[in-house]
C-alpha cells in the first residue's frame, strides 16, 4: 500500500482544520470569483481555490491513513447537538477525486470558456463551478444526513445554472437544464422525505447515531419506507437506470468543462451517498438491504449496462454517445455495490475512479477538438485524428480505458468486478459485463473510425488542435487512465480503503 504520508506536508494548524477548509476554500472562492473584475481574474481565483482544495484533500487523506477516521466538530459543538464532519477512507477517496477533477477542469476551463460561454457570464461561470465543487466536497465530508441534503442541493443548484450556460452554442441547453432541475429537485426532495422518515423513527440525523439506532428497527415499516424514498431520490441524482432521462441532454448541451466535471464527479457523489446509506447507515447484512441490493439495484444496474450501451452504439452525436455510455458505466459501479461484499464494493469504487478519469478526459478531448468549430456528430469529427493529433491521442487513450483494453485502468476495474462476482457465484454479472463490453467496443470503434479512418467532407469546417493550456490537463487525465492501469497500487489502495471503511473492516 502506498503511504499517503509521503504525499503531504503542511503546517499542523492547517492540517487540523483541513476537513472544513476543504469545503470552505472553494466556497469562499465562489464568492470571490463572483466579485472578480474580469473573467481572467475569476479564472485565476478558480484555479487557486481548486488547487487549495486539492492540497487540503491530500492533507485529509494523509490524516485518514494515519488515524482511520477524522471527526471534525463544526464550531467545537460535539454531536448530537452539533453538526459533525466525519471523513473515513471512502470520504477521503471521494474528496481526493472531486478535488483533483476540479483542479483539472478549472485549468481546462481557462480556454474552453472563451469558445463556449458568453464573455460576461464567464466570471459567474467560475463562481458556479466553485459552488458546485464545494457542495460535492461537503457532501462527501459530512456525517449528518440532513447536512448531506443541503450540500447535495448546493452543488446541484450550481450545476443547473452551469448546464444552462451552454446556451451560447446551442439553445437546447436551456430546456435540458430545466429538465435536469426538475428531476434533480424531485430527487433531492425524495431524499429529504426519506431522511424525515428515519428521523421520525430514530430522533437523530447523525449518520453514526442513525446506524446504531436503526439496528433494532430494521423491520419497521417507517424505516423501510424511508430507505425506499432515499434510494429513489439518490437514484435520480445518480442517473440510475431508468431515472437517467435528464442526463443525456444535460451532458450533451452543457459547456464541455461542465460535462467533463459532472460526468466525473456529480453522479459519483450521489452513488457515494447511496453506498453510505446502504452500508454504513443501514446494515449490509440486513435482510431488507440484501433484498434491495439483489432484487432492485443489481437488475437495474445490469439493464443500464446493456440497454444504455446499446443506445450509445446507435447515437450519432459524439457527446450523446459519451453521455449514454456514462449511464451504462454507472451500471458497472452499481453492480459492484450490489455484489455487497468488500471485494465487490472495492471493485465498484475502482471503476468509479477509472470512469471519472476516462470520461473526464473524453469530454475534455471532445471539447478541446471543438474549440474552433462546433463539431457534434461523428461526421463532424471525420479526419480529426489528422487535424488534432495530440487531442485525439488523449481521446484514444481514454477511450481504450472506456472499452476496457488490457493495460488500462478500465480493464483492471472490470477484471476486479468479475473476480468479485465469481467469488459470490454470480455468474450472470460476468455475462452482463461481457455483453456490455462488446457493445462498448462497438461505440468506441465507431468513434475511432470517424476520427482516424474517415476523410473529412469537402469544404466542411475542420477540427483544430487545442492550445497547450487545454492539452496539459487533458493529457494528464488520459495519461493517468493508462499509467494507473499499469501501476495500479494507488487507485487500488484508495478503493480498498473506501470499501473497508464502508464495512468497518480494519485494513
Amino acid at each position: 500500500m502506498i503511504s499517503f504520508e509521503t504525499l503531504y506536508a503542511a503546517p499542523p494548524d492547517l492540517l487540523r482544520h483541513a476537513p472544513v477548509l476543504l469545503v470552505a476554500g472553494p466556497l469562499i472562492g465562489a464568492c470571490a470569483a463572483a466579485l472578480a473584475p474580469s473573467s481572467r481574474w475569476a479564472w485565476m481565483i478558480s484555479v487557486g481555490a481548486t488547487i487549495f482544495a486539492l492540497w487540503m484533500a491530500l492533507g485529509v487523506i494523509g490524516e485518514v491513513a494515519r488515524k482511520g477516521v477524522l471527526d471534525y466538530y463544526l464550531g467545537g459543538f460535539a454531536p448530537p447537538a452539533g453538526i459533525a464532519f466525519r471523513i473515513d477512507g471512502l470520504g477521503a477517496t471521494m474528496a481526493l477525486l472531486i478535488a483533483f477533477m476540479g483542479a483539472a477542469v478549472s485549468l481546462y476551463s481557462g480556454h474552453s470558456l472563451r469558445a463556449e460561454v458568453r464573455h460576461e457570464k464567464q466570471t459567474l461561470f467560475q463562481s458556479g463551478f466553485l459552488l458546485c465543487q464545494a457542495g460535492m466536497l461537503g457532501l462527501v465530508s459530512t456525517g449528518d444526513a440532513f447536512n448531506a441534503f443541503v450540500f447535495l442541493e448546493i452543488s446541484s443548484i450550481g450545476t443547473y445554472a452551469l448546464v444552462a450556460l451552454g446556451s451560447r452554442r446551442d439553445r437546447r441547453a436551456l430546456p435540458a437544464a430545466f429538465t435536469y432541475l426538475v428531476m434533480g429537485t424531485i430527487g433531492a426532495t425524495f431524499f429529504v422525505i426519506g431522511v424525515g422518515f428515519l428521523y421520525a423513527a430514530t430522533g437523530t440525523l447523525n449518520m453514526e447515531d442513525l446506524a446504531l439506532r436503526l439496528t433494532p428497527l430494521s423491520e419497521s415499516r417507517v424505516v423501510q419506507a424511508g430507505f425506499a424514498f432515499i434510494f429513489v431520490g439518490l437514484g435520480l441524482k445518480a442517473a440510475m437506470f431508468p431515472l437517467h432521462g435528464w442526463l443525456p441532454g444535460a451532458y450533451t448541451f452543457a459547456p464541455t468543462a461542465i460535462a467533463a466535471f459532472l460526468s466525473a464527479t456529480a453522479t459519483k457523489a450521489a452513488i457515494y451517498l447511496m453506498a453510505r446509506f446502504a452500508f454504513t447507515v443501514f446494515e449490509s447484512d440486513d435482510a431488507f438491504v440484501q433484498g434491495f441490493l439483489f432484487w432492485a439495484l443489481a437488475p437495474l444496474a445490469a439493464v443500464a449496462a446493456i440497454v444504455c450501451s446499446l443506445q450509445a452504439a446507435f447515437e450519432k452525436d459524439v457527446r450523446r454517445i459519451l453521455a449514454f455510455s456514462s449511464v451504462a458505466q454507472a451500471g458497472y459501479i452499481l453492480l459492484g455495490l450490489a455484489v455487497g461484499t468488500v471485494l465487490g464494493v472495492s471493485a465498484g469504487l475502482l471503476h468509479l475512479l477509472a470512469h471519472a478519469l476516462m470520461k473526464g478526459a473524453l469530454f475534455m478531448a471532445v471539447g478541446a477538438a471543438t474549440l474552433a468549430v462546433n463539431a457534434r456528430t461523428l461526421t463532424d469529427f471525420a479526419g480529426a485524428g489528422r487535424d488534432a493529433p495530440w487531442t485525439m491521442a488523449a481521446f484514444t487513450m481514454a477511450a481504450a480505458s472506456l472499452m476496457g483494453m488490457p493495460l488500462t485502468l478500465g480493464f483492471l476495474s472490470k477484471w476486479r468486478l468479475i473476480e468479485a462476482a465469481l467469488a459470490q457465484n454470480q455468474v450472470w454479472i460476468v455475462a452482463v459485463i461481457a455483453v456490455s463490453s462488446l457493445l462498448a467496443l462497438v461505440y468506441v470503434s465507431r468513434m475511432f473510425e470517424a476520427v482516424f479512418l474517415r476523410a473529412p467532407a469537402q469544404g466542411a469546417p475542420r477540427v483544430k488542435e487545442a492550445p497547450v493550456g487545454v492539452l496539459v490537463p487533458l493529457l494528464i487525465l488520459a495519461g493517468l487512465s493508462i499509467w494507473l492501469g499499469i501501476d495500479a497500487s494507488l487507485p487500488e489502495a484508495l478503493a480498498d480503503a473506501g470499501a473497508r471503511a464502508l464495512f468497518g473492516v480494519s485494513p
Binding site: L174, A177, F178, L181, I186, T189, L205, G249
Partner: protein
C-alpha cells in the same frame, strides 16, 4: 389512529402528489415550477408535523416556576410530563423547524434558478410550452431534448 389525528399527514400526501402531478401533467414550464414548489413545500409540513409533541408548547424556554410555566404544566398529565417535560414544561421539538427553514431556503433558490431558466427559454424559443419547444427543435432539423 384515526383520520383526525393524522389529518396533517393526509394533507402532506395530498400536497405531495398534487405537486408531482402538476410537474408531470403540465406542459407549461412556469406551471411545472409551481408544481415543484408545492411538492417541496409538502415536505415542510411533513417535518413540522413530526416536530409536534403532544401537549407541547412552542420551543421557547419558559422561566421555571413562573405563572406561564405553572399554567402550561397544569395542562399535561403528570405521568406524561415526568417523561417528557423539562422543568415541568413539555416543549415541541425545535430541530425540524430549523431543518425546514434550511430546506425552504434551498427551495427558494431552486425556484429562482428554475424560473430564471424558464425566462431564458422564453427568450430563446418565444414560448414556455414544452411541446412547442420540442417541435421547434424538431423543425430546426435537430432532435428534441429527451
Amino acid at each position: 389512529m384515526s383520520l383526525l389525528t393524522h389529518v396533517n399527514y393526509f394533507a402532506v400526501v395530498l400536497l405531495m402528489v398534487a405537486g408531482l402531478y402538476i410537474v408531470f401533467s403540465s406542459g407549461n414550464l412556469v406551471r411545472r415550477m409551481i408544481g415543484l414548489a408545492l411538492f417541496q413545500t409538502s415536505t415542510g409540513l411533513f417535518y413540522i408535523s413530526l416536530a409536534k409533541v403532544a401537549g407541547g408548547t412552542a420551543p421557547i424556554r419558559v422561566e421555571p416556576d413562573s405563572e406561564t410555566a405553572r399554567e402550561l404544566s397544569s395542562r399535561v398529565d403528570p405521568g406524561y410530563a415526568a417523561q417528557y417535560a423539562i422543568d415541568g414544561v413539555v416543549y415541541s421539538n425545535p430541530l425540524p423547524h430549523v431543518l425546514i427553514l434550511t430546506a425552504i431556503v434551498v427551495g427558494v433558490a431552486t425556484l429562482a434558478v428554475g424560473l430564471a431558466i424558464a425566462a431564458r427559454v422564453r427568450e430563446a424559443y418565444g414560448t414556455l410550452d414544452a411541446g412547442e419547444i420540442a417541435d421547434a427543435d424538431r423543425k430546426a432539423g435537430r432532435g428534441p431534448v429527451p
